[in-house]
């Protein structure tokens, strides 16, 4: 005899049809979440692969060095005898008429090859191919004309230069600036027409033996640099492992993966609980049937499987559809986010087994585990209890007393709230999570704006010029020559600008282990009676306090490292073993960078710089009478806000995506859970209609309870979201980013969130009101079937 298939399966399509709206919104939420994350993972992995492959495909340099004058053939031969192949990588930085700077290279044919993204490479004079992202940011397209002081170039194509995936104009910049800086290539003839005075003589090198890991690169670069400085006058040396324009992209890509996975799994857990609440409601509704089936011999396992089928089916189909969309639509959305930040070459979509596993198998397993546990508990009752509709575990506690002095409607609503407490608990989890995302989405732009707005208040001068010591002035092997060069340098960097004030500065780094990541710390030596930083009294106080090597730390340093007065910090020189210990004697409100302050002469003494030496200027007017080659870094408002501007550009789109997604999730959860509450009470609603209650009154009884709870939960979620976000933000900045951007959450965000929450709920409430109006009166008169 052929075994009959479980006839309960016939219920599934009918249930799907009768509750299509509910399953559809859950399905859409799942598809959207899984699709986005799958798309992100696919794009992430594919682009990481494209980035990694680009080193070989585009023959990316192992490093570059810059010299003051073009190296002659014999120098190049001597350099190549050091076991490297040298390539010309000359460029000129041109300020365009629209205010942006374009670094123009001769078209590359051997090293750091360009990846054409659109159009063609320039072949004739007057033609130029510009970086694709820079073009996007400045609304440039193929065929447009770039103008710089009367000189015009026609854009023939858009490219990605393999050694500029992150558009750092200077390797010492905290952040790249793809809005104001771009790279471009012109044909050889065009490049030859540029004045030699404008050319930066940069050379790329590749090691003959190939490249090794980071430690190998560091050792090799150190010995190469030493030998190289004996052949040419170096003004810049940038091995690949330090070249931010090349490595920043690779370091950043993949770092968001964990966060995205957590996001997906939290959504799945919430949806699993939404399903659990839905199923629990169905179990209550069908308790007689369940009792009968159990009495007839259906096992608990069979019923668990039956009630789990629909959530699993919806999740599985959503996971499959989400993955298909992930590989097609969302992959491009996510890739665009990367293309919005980085100038990456074209990529090929790669099949990603991990992504498929994590966005299909894992969500289904999460759904199975949560729903199985909840269903096992719900169906653990005896068949008799189901037949008697007595679904309370243990003894029924009966109704809790409510004062008769309370108005009837109030008592009624309180009862509805307590009856639906499990729904409201899941709703709270959903509101908390949606608000968490929303707050995150709203907070980040605010933090960046606030940082830009408040930064001028803490700047000690409009400009800071950090001077660049020539290599020849610090050559330990040629001490006398170095001293002479230093004197020459000190004379050359004198300025006539009246409000310029000298200071000393020394760049150090934090020690890994003492901090979670290596952080650059600039040590400032401030002159006595400084007009920009009058710290004499504070320096005297800290001397009196008897600390060893006392310093004042910037508020950024304090906030990032959680420093207290009296703490000892150890800082080291980059690539050197020398370490210095300082005691934090106080703090200075400054958000520009992570730095410490001490008297100038003290700094010169500690770092053996010589009495009277200075390495920089504070000034409120621009200094123009010092040769640019002696200025290593200019710190002004624009350079300090580069981080926030670029972050806003890179992450702005993502933040809006997060805002919309969280609002959608908020809406869906409230819709589903309030729908469940109304369905659960359909019979009572119907009965109240028969008794003569109007729809408005019924809404006051049933819908207002949910309104009250939703508003209460929105308010309750805010402090929790704030606490959680501050913690996550601090962890993120500490472990993911150098520098520090202070946390800022203005009151208007709370108001925005409350308004958004209430408006979203109002839309759902209108839909639910329509539902209440449609509950038929014969519902109450129906048989239990």
């Amino acid at each position: 005899m052929k075994k009959t298939k479980n006839p309960l399966r016939h219920r599934l399509p009918r249930e799907l049809k009768s509750d299509f709206g509910k399953y559809m919104v859950i399905f859409l939420l799942l598809v959207l979440s899984i699709g986005l994350i799958s798309g992100f993972l696919v794009a992430d992995e594919s682009m990481i692969a494209a980035y990694n492959d680009s080193f070989e495909k585009y023959n990316i340099e192992d490093g570059n060095f810059t010299v003051e004058y073009r190296a002659n053939k014999s120098s190049i031969r001597m350099i190549e005898d050091l076991g490297v192949k040298v390539y010309e990588l000359f460029f000129t930085d041109r300020k365009m008429d629209n205010g942006v700077t374009v670094r123009i290279f001769k078209n590359r044919t051997a090293v750091d090859l360009p990846c054409p993204m659109e159009g063609s490479l320039p072949e004739e004079t007057g033609e130029i191919a510009v970086d694709r992202m820079f073009a996007d940011n400045n609304s440039l397209k193929t065929g447009d004309i770039l103008v710089s002081s009367g000189k015009e170039w026609k854009i023939t194509g858009l490219v990605a230069l393999s050694d500029y995936s992150a558009l750092f104009s200077d390797n010492s910049d905290t952040m790249f600036d793809a809005l104001h800086f771009g790279v471009a290539v012109v044909c050889e003839e065009e490049f030859e027409s540029f004045s030699k005075n404008e050319i930066t003589w940069r050379y790329a090198w590749k090691y003959n033996e190939g490249i090794g890991d980071k430690a190998w690169q560091k050792d090799r670069a150190e010995s190469f640099s030493e030998d190289l400085s004996g052949i040419v006058d170096l003004v810049g040396f940038n091995p690949r492992f330090q070249n931010q324009a090349i490595i920043f992209t690779g370091d950043d890509m993949g770092s968001d993966r964990a966060m995205m996975m957590v996001l997906l799994y939290v959504i799945i857990v919430i949806i699993a609980f939404v399903f659990a609440v839905t199923i629990s409601n169905t179990i209550v509704k069908e308790s007689n049937v369940i009792g009968t089936l159990r009495a007839s011999g259906y096992t608990k396992g069979e019923l668990i499987r039956h009630y789990m089928t629909m959530p699993l089916f919806v999740t599985l189909v959503a996971a499959l559809v989400g993955n298909v969309l992930g590989y097609t639509v969302f992959k491009d959305v996510c890739a665009d986010l990367y293309y919005n930040s980085y100038s990456l070459p074209t990529y090929v979509t790669l099949w990603n087994a991990d992504a498929f596993f994590e966005t299909t198998v894992v969500p289904v397993v999460i759904m199975i585990v949560i729903d199985f546990v909840i269903l096992s508990r719900r169906l653990a009752l005896s068949p008799l209890k189901f037949l008697r509709r007595d679904l309370k575990k243990g003894r029924s506690r009966g109704a809790f007393p409510l004062s008769a002095h309370l108005p009837f409607f109030t008592r009624f609503r309180v009862r509805v709230i307590f009856q639906n407490m499990p729904n409201y608990i899941v709703l709270f989890a959903g509101i908390f999570f949606a608000n968490f995302l929303l707050m995150f989405g709203l907070m980040l732009p605010e933090i960046l704006h606030h940082y830009e707005e408040t930064l001028p208040d803490s700047m000690f001068s409009e400009y800071q010029y950090i001077l660049q010591l020539p290599q020849a002035a610090v050559d330990e092997d040629k001490k006398l020559e170095s001293m002479m060069n230093m004197l020459k340098f000190q004379n050359a960097v004198e300025t006539d600008v009246e409000d310029a004030e000298k200071f000393s500065a020394y760049g150090l780094q934090t020690v890994l282990g003492e901090t979670k990541r290596i952080e650059d710390v600039l040590v400032y030596g401030i002159a006595d009676h400084s007009r920009y930083l009058p710290l004499d009294d504070r320096f005297r106080e800290m001397e009196k306090a008897g600390f060893e090597n006392p310093v004042l730390a910037s508020s950024n340093y304090r906030d990032k490292m959680k420093l207290k007065i009296g703490d000892r910090v150890t800082l080291k020189e980059e690539f050197e073993d020398a370490q210095y210990s300082f005691t934090i004697a106080g703090f200075l409100e400054y958000t520009g960078s992570i730095c410490v302050f001490m008297p100038k002469e003290k700094l010169n003494e500690i770092f053996d710089l010589g009495k009277g030496t200075f390495t920089g200027y504070f000034s409120n007017t621009p200094i123009t009478d010092i040769d640019k080659s002696y200025i290593g870094q200019t710190i002004d408002r624009e350079s300090l806000t580069k981080v926030s501007r670029q972050l806003m550009k890179s992450m702005g789109g993502m933040m809006y995506l997060v805002d919309y997604f969280s609002m959608l999730m908020f809406m869906i959860l409230i819709y589903i859970l309030s729908k469940i509450i109304i369905e659960k009470n359909a019979q009572s609603i119907s009965m109240t209609k028969i008794l003569g209650y109007r729809n408005g009154e019924i809404s006051r009884l049933y819908l207002h309870s949910t309104t009250l709870m939703t508003i209460l939960e929105i308010f309750l979620s805010l402090p929790l979201c704030t606490t959680g976000l501050v913690w996550i933000y601090e962890q993120m900045i500490v472990s993911e980013m150098t520098g520090w951007i202070p946390y800022y959450l203005p009151r208007k965000i709370y108001i925005q969130m409350i308004i958004m929450g209430i408006v979203t709920y109002a839309v759902v409430a209108v839909l639910e009101y329509q539902k209440i109006r449609k509950v038929p009166m014969d519902e109450a008169l129906k048989n239990v079937e």
Binding site: T4, P7, R11, G297, T299, N783, E785
Partner: protein
């Protein structure tokens, strides 16, 4: 002996609120017998039926089905016992609302290794024309017939009926009783029916009258009437 009930006791509540519903029930039942448990409301009939059905447990006493003691059965074994040997019919039909008549009957068939032919059974139950309807498209009698179909399709050894006509009018009740009688005769299942309708005792092989949680009478009917002949 097919079914033996010995010294069955069951109470509910605690302390002063405790009520002893069954105070020591003893009776036996032969295979294929039509047995009626008769008594007023609250005398413990349904409790006794639920204990026989393995969905409630006695405080003491024993039930043996073909010699196997139910008290020794673990939860899983009890489920299998119900699955393999029992059919249940309730006063409320408890049909699955979004399954058709045919599918509701198949819900019972699924549980059996050797179910009756569903098509034939629907003819016997007079439901064949309604096989594609949902429960809310049926009358009370038709719904109860469907519930009977679901219970007997797996050809159970014992058919437990808890006030199966309690929610039905006179004519429909007689129809249902005739049906149960037919099933009993055609398939030879042991029927144990709980009722407070005194007239039904005339169609039974054995009548067990309960009062105050005790068996007051255990009567073997020498002659029995057909359901058709009953009147109340």
């Amino acid at each position: 002996m097919f079914l033996e009930v010995q010294g069955l006791k069951k109470g509910f509540g605690q302390g002063s609120a405790r009520v002893e519903v069954l105070k020591g029930i003893d009776f036996t039942c032969e295979k294929g017998e039509f047995c009626v448990l008769l008594g007023p409301s609250g005398c413990g009939k349904s409790t006794l039926l639920n204990i026989i059905g393995g969905i409630d447990k006695p405080d003491s006493g024993e039930i043996r089905i073909e010699g196997e003691a139910m008290s020794l059965m673990k939860e899983k074994r009890l489920t299998m016992y119900r699955r393999e040997h029992l059919g249940y019919i309730f006063q409320m039909y408890n049909l699955i609302p979004n399954l058709t008549v045919r599918e509701n009957i198949e819900v019972g068939a699924y549980l059996s290794r050797n179910p009756l032919d569903v098509e034939e059974l629907m003819h016997t139950l007079g439901l064949y024309e309604h096989r594609g309807k949902l429960p809310n498209q049926l009358s009370g009698g038709q719904q109860q017939r469907c519930a009977i179909g679901r219970a007997i399709v797996k050809n159970p050894d014992i058919l437990l009926c808890d006030e199966p006509t309690g929610a039905l009018d006179y004519n429909t009740s007689k129809e249902i009783l005739k049906l149960i009688e037919t099933v009993n005769q055609k398939y030879g299942n042991t029927v144990i029916m709980v009722t407070h309708n005194d007239a039904i005792r005339f169609m039974a092989d054995r009548v067990i009258k309960l009062k105050d949680g005790m068996v007051r009478h255990n009567i073997q009917n020498e002659t029995k009437m057909s359901a058709e002949e009953l009147d109340w």
